[in-house]
């Protein structure tokens, strides 16, 4: 009992001293609670559907950020990983009767292979050239799908895929918890030594290579990791929608993920996730003004990109928090001294 009380007190201390001191951390806690408690406020299957899809796209957007935001490998064909993951999971489920728990991770591994396939030739390319090359890959896969309609379902896609869980609430919990876990893992990766090297590659690859780091290996690793997470999102999508078609490889989906990430703030992980949670349900809500839905959406995105070029959520964070010039620890913006080193923040 005493031990439990000791850990509880310790937890409270951590919450008070580490979490409640920064608005961004409080926001993350509120976000986690919102995700986990949403079904206790509503059991409306439509709302749960929208948020389930939001969770899937949040994983997808964060996986783009891992590759492009952090490592600087501009990918305009990210739907490739999503589509390959979705198709692989669907095919394994339909042809080999594999349960979602096997088909989704195996599908993600196929997406890793796709990541390598794109990553190896892309090693020689940078910037716009890389972006245009990556854009071609989903189109090639669509061509393959149409070439072998007997196996891939062609234009119709693959239907009759097994449901992830029997009820919408269960589906929501499976996907939302996975989203929280996977996004946390991605965030931890970017915060690790590997993440620092990813950052460095984006900033100055030659300098990193001069430091003795095998950048080729790290760039391929970024492609594989990104492919894995996007493939997981694709597999979840396939089992949630119960149909996979060529639309999972659409160019529009590849651009959608870029919009989400830039809107929220690239190279942050939390930015793309928050952007998807802001934009996707909002766009759904815009069906009330159906005729102006697209134009209003475009105006909102354009205004944010013009006035907050680093992304909405990074801008918001900069407004409520600031970094201590001496110890680099973040403090709430209205503090006069740093909470750690007590240096003046004014």
């Amino acid at each position: 009992m005493k031990l439990i009380l000791f850990y509880l007190r310790k937890l409270l201390a951590v919450v008070r001293n580490e979490v409640l001191v920064l608005p961004s951390r409080v926001a993350v806690i509120i976000f986690f609670l919102f995700i986990l408690l949403l079904p206790s406020f509503t059991d409306d299957v439509y709302i749960l559907r929208v948020f389930t899809l939001t969770c899937i796209f949040a994983i997808f957007a964060a996986s783009w950020d891992l590759l492009c935001g952090f490592t600087g490998q501009l990918n305009f064909g990210h739907a490739l990983f999503f589509g390959v993951g979705a198709y692989s999971a669907a095919l394994m489920n339909i042809h080999w009767q594999l349960a979602p728990w096997f088909s989704i991770p195996l599908g993600a591994l196929v997406a890793v292979a796709a990541g390598l396939t794109v990553g190896i030739p892309a090693l020689r390319l940078k910037g716009t050239y890389l972006a245009l090359t990556t854009m071609a890959f989903p189109i090639i896969v669509i061509g393959l799908i149409f070439t072998f309609p007997g196996f891939t379902g062609g234009e119709l896609g693959i239907s009759g895929i097994q449901k992830l869980a029997p009820t919408r609430i269960e589906e929501y919990y499976v996907i939302s918890i996975l989203m929280l876990v996977l996004c946390t893992i991605m965030w931890k990766i970017t915060d690790s030594n590997t993440g620092i090297i990813f950052h460095a590659i984006r900033e100055d690859e030659i300098a990193v290579r001069a430091s003795g780091v095998n950048t080729t290996r790290y760039k391929l690793l970024a492609f594989c990791l990104s492919g894995f997470f996007a493939g997981l999102a694709g597999g979840l999508y396939a089992h949630f929608m119960r149909i996979v078609g060529p639309s999972t490889l659409d160019v529009s989906l590849s651009f959608q993920v870029v919009i989400w990430s830039i809107f929220g703030g690239a190279a942050t992980i939390y930015g793309p996730v928050a952007a998807v949670f802001f934009l996707y349900p909002t766009l759904e809500l815009f069906h009330l003004i159906q005729d102006y839905r697209t134009i209003v959406f475009a105006i909102v995105v354009l205004l944010v990109l013009i006035f907050m070029p680093d992304g909405l959520f990074r801008w918001l964070r900069e407004k409520v928090e600031e970094e201590c010039p001496r110890c680099k620890v973040r403090n709430v913006a209205w503090r006069k001294t740093c909470r750690v080193c007590t240096a003046s923040l004014e």
Binding site: V45, E155, S247
Partner: protein, 438 residues
């Protein structure tokens, strides 16, 4: 004063309560969801047809359900299905779970309709498809009847029948060309299908069928669905000596192909499927060069499949200023499909209605609906194609007017002659006649 305010407040509450009770008891509505790509011509057709149906029914006092009259309320849902299948499924789920619709009509892109079909079937809501032609949608009904029995095809008939009809049109035109121009030997046909997956199976079908029809295939051309210049293909077709150009176009390439064919005066007649040529704007879009183009169609001004056609076509034209396209058959799906079944059963229960709907044979403005069964006798909920049922029509642009040209003396079986009222003879392009009568 205070007492007066209090009594006013209580009276207001009682009034509101009474009104809401009255609305619940007497103001019940049948909610029909209309789903489609509402920013595109297909979705606009869905909505226009359904609106016309709802207004007509409500003007008559509504629909008799048991011993009470219920008004029709339409709920529009933009599926955005050309751009996002996910949006389409969200729209369907919203219609069913938030708006609590009793029926859904619409849908266009097959991939999206299949995903929407799954949602409607899970919720046991009757969904009448008014746009997608793929047979798989109905094969699901036969294979998994208990799950998919709530789906019915409203329009068009299955894509395999669309192809069958196109071959009949080619055969009819071939006979006219042979007779009018006194062509010796087989009629030469150039096959031009847009480079799209749905048109791929047509190539082997054409290669196998045309020789059996006594025709010669002189070549296959596959321009891009969005090509803006097809003069190279047309020149090659001219060099190949084709008499007929068998077209399969659902996209914008139908306009430049018809326009340039007219500009270059290719001595061949275009027959087949050209969705652009079904639209009223086609004449302006081709600057009149699309004259003599023949396409499969559903409606044309002055053409009567039965006594229901003219009131519908004229009513639609008066209201929306154009001839209805096939997606406007949401009108028929509501007025002749759903409503009589409700009135017959006095119920809105999907299972009760399905049992009635799948066995009904009824007239619609484009013909007569009878739902088919597969080879094993399982209900497909697909439309019967053929004389006496739905045949579609073929229309030709003749000097700025879209006129019906088929079926006009069509003899599908010995002793059977199908001719719809208002049909006109097929005209061959004058430059074609000139080229072959030298």
């Amino acid at each position: 004063m205070k007492c007066f305010k209090k009594s006013m407040f209580v009276s207001a509450i009682i009034f509101l309560f009474t009104v809401s009770l009255w609305a619940t008891a007497f103001g019940q509505e049948i909610k029909i969801g209309v789903i489609g790509p509402m920013k595109f011509v297909q979705g606009i057709g869905h909505w226009n047809g359904a609106t016309m149906a709802a207004d007509e029914l409500n003007a008559k006092g509504g629909v008799k359900v048991g011993d009470k009259m219920m008004k029709i309320k339409l709920i529009q849902a933009d599926s955005n299905e050309f751009l996002s299948v996910t949006d389409a499924t969200n729209a369907m789920e919203r219609l069913i779970t938030k708006e609590k619709v009793n029926f859904v009509v619409g849908g266009f892109r097959t991939e999206a309709v299949m995903a929407m079909q799954d949602i409607a079937m899970d919720k046991r809501v009757i969904f009448i498809g008014c746009g997608a032609a793929h047979p798989e949608l109905c094969e699901r009904v036969a294979k998994y009847y208990d799950q998919y029995k709530y789906f019915f095809r409203g329009t068009p008939y299955s894509s395999s029948d669309l192809v069958k009809a196109a071959f009949i049109h080619v055969g009819t035109v071939g006979a006219i060309v042979k007779q009018s121009l006194k062509i010796e030997g087989p009629i030469k046909v150039a096959f031009v299908a847009e480079k799209a997956q749905w048109a791929d199976p047509m190539v082997p079908a054409v290669q196998a069928t045309l020789p059996k029809m006594g025709m010669e295939l002189v070549g296959v051309w596959r321009p891009s669905p969005v090509a803006t210049d097809v003069s190279a293909e047309l020149s090659a077709i001219q060099r190949a000596g084709a008499h007929i150009i068998f077209t399969i176009f659902s996209s914008s390439v139908g306009i430049p192909f018809a326009r340039q064919g007219g500009e270059l005066k290719i001595p061949a007649i275009q027959v087949g499927i050209n969705v652009e040529a079904q639209k009223t704007e086609f004449w302006q879009a081709t600057r009149g060069m699309g004259n003599y183009v023949i396409t499969s169609n559903t409606y044309a001004e002055g053409v009567e499949q039965n006594e229901l056609t003219t009131p519908f076509v004229e009513g639609y034209k008066k209201r929306y200023g154009e001839i209805p396209t096939y997606t406007a058959d949401t009108y028929a799906a509501i007025i002749y499909g759903i409503v009589p079944a409700i009135e017959q059963t006095g119920s809105l229960n999907s299972d009760v209605l399905v049992a009635i709907m799948e066995n009904r044979v009824y007239k619609v403005p484009s013909g007569t609906v009878r739902y088919t069964k597969d080879n094993l006798g399982r209900p497909l909920h697909d439309l019967t194609f053929g004389p006496g049922y739905l045949t579609g029509i073929a229309t030709q642009w003749q000097d700025g007017k879209l006129v019906g040209v088929w079926p006009n003396g069509w003899k599908p079986a010995p002793g059977v002659d199908v001719t719809y009222k208002g049909m006109k003879p097929i005209k061959l392009p004058p430059w074609m006649i000139k080229a072959y009568k030298k």
